[in-house]
């Protein structure tokens, strides 16, 4: 690592600032309600009783689902962890957006029935994949790394099915369905964007610090671990419920 002589000495304050930002960004990832599967009670009532186009409301539900959907966010953290250029970040996030928008829209419109637990387990797998990939695991084990852009697109498709299953639970009326879906999808992107802003802020701040190098292995190991937890959590749900 190149360190210029102009680097500020690492004072206690810098550490405190760093850790408080890290803590804040982590809090954003912690589920306060069990959101990663299903929606909360008020939203449930709304969706069950809603008829016709409700643009802003559906947009809000989409945004809220994304901001509080720690499974999607963990994957995004993994994806942008080692992306330094804004062009790359834009490219990868666009691939992810393209992937999940396609399956979200088609999944609901064509009423493709997939098991929510299995889809959410695959979403967990996507988190494991990204953590392992960030550790250089595929390069080491297979001798090559699966095309990361294609992988983000493909896992994006599964994330979209996950979003679709949340809406399909409610057998939304056909009346205004398409517009409501577009609104929900837009909301998802808005939510993703606002979550990304915070994740990027935290990560780029962290990158400037030498602990980023030290802890990048730990972080990606923990990312994998969180992915394994998601898989176990959802597969148990599949077999128990």
């Amino acid at each position: 690592m190149i360190r210029s002589t102009l680097d500020l000495p690492v004072t206690k304050k810098t550490y405190q600032l760093f850790f408080s930002i890290l803590a804040l960004s982590l809090i954003g990832l912690i589920p306060f309600e069990s959101m990663a599967h299903g929606v909360d009670e008020n939203t449930r009532h709304f969706l069950l009783n809603n008829k016709g186009v409700q643009f802003i409301a559906f947009m809000y539900i989409g945004a809220k689902h994304m901001v509080t959907g720690y499974d999607h966010l963990l994957f995004l953290v993994g994806v942008i962890f080692f992306l330094y250029k804004s062009r790359d970040i834009l490219l990868y996030v666009s691939m992810f957006t393209l992937g999940h928008s396609v399956t979200l829209l088609l999944g609901v419109l064509w009423d493709i029935q997939v098991n929510a637990y299995l889809i959410d387990a695959i979403i967990g797998l996507s988190v494991v994949y990204k953590g392992f990939d960030n550790l250089g695991g595929f390069q080491r084990v297979l001798g090559f790394s699966p095309n990361p852009q294609r992988a983000v697109l493909i896992f994006g498709l599964f994330h979209g099915f996950g979003l679709a299953t949340k809406l399909q639970e409610f057998q939304l009326p056909q009346d205004g369905l398409f517009i409501n879906l577009i609104a929900f999808n837009l909301g998802v992107e808005l939510g993703q964007f606002s979550a990304l802003v915070f994740i990027l802020l935290a990560i780029s701040f962290w990158r400037k610090h030498h602990t980023f190098q030290q802890f990048s292995i730990t972080t990606n190991t923990l990312l994998m671990s969180a992915g394994f937890m998601l898989i176990g959590f959802q597969l148990t749900g599949y077999f128990v419920i």
Partner: protein, 171 residues
Amino acid sequence: MQQSLSTKTLMKSTAIAIIIAALVLITIILPAEYNVDPTGVGAKLGLTALANPTISNVANKEAKQSSDNFDIIVPAGRGVEFKFSLQQFQKMKYEWQTDGEPLYFDLHGEPEGDTTGYFESYAIATLNKMEGSFTAPFTGAHGWYWKNKSNTPITVKLKVNGEYVIIGLKQ
């Protein structure tokens, strides 16, 4: 792709990831989410109580709530049924326990006026206690069948809360 770790470090990282995930799942997540608690740690931490989080805030809003306690004796080697009449979409919150001995049970409902013997099961297991809630999918008789496979009678302490009419014991 960005790191060049040795195979050993990579394997170590992966193993640690799996071990942490397994520990957290078994002791915390599964007890709290599904009341699946193989080690008993979840119950000690009070997490299994979380497994049915929606009961309290939903059920309390209903007006014609009632609450009852029953002591039901399941004779040795026999099965008994204890039922309540519920209208469609009415909710019941329940909690029962034995004095420690596990019982096979089937929580189910039979549609009103049905003569074919059809029933729908909501939960089947062998446990010494259970708590939860259900919403009647149809109007009819809903409740438990307990089967005592031991040689001594077992008393079930049942506590219910919700909108129902007691039917009671059916042998």
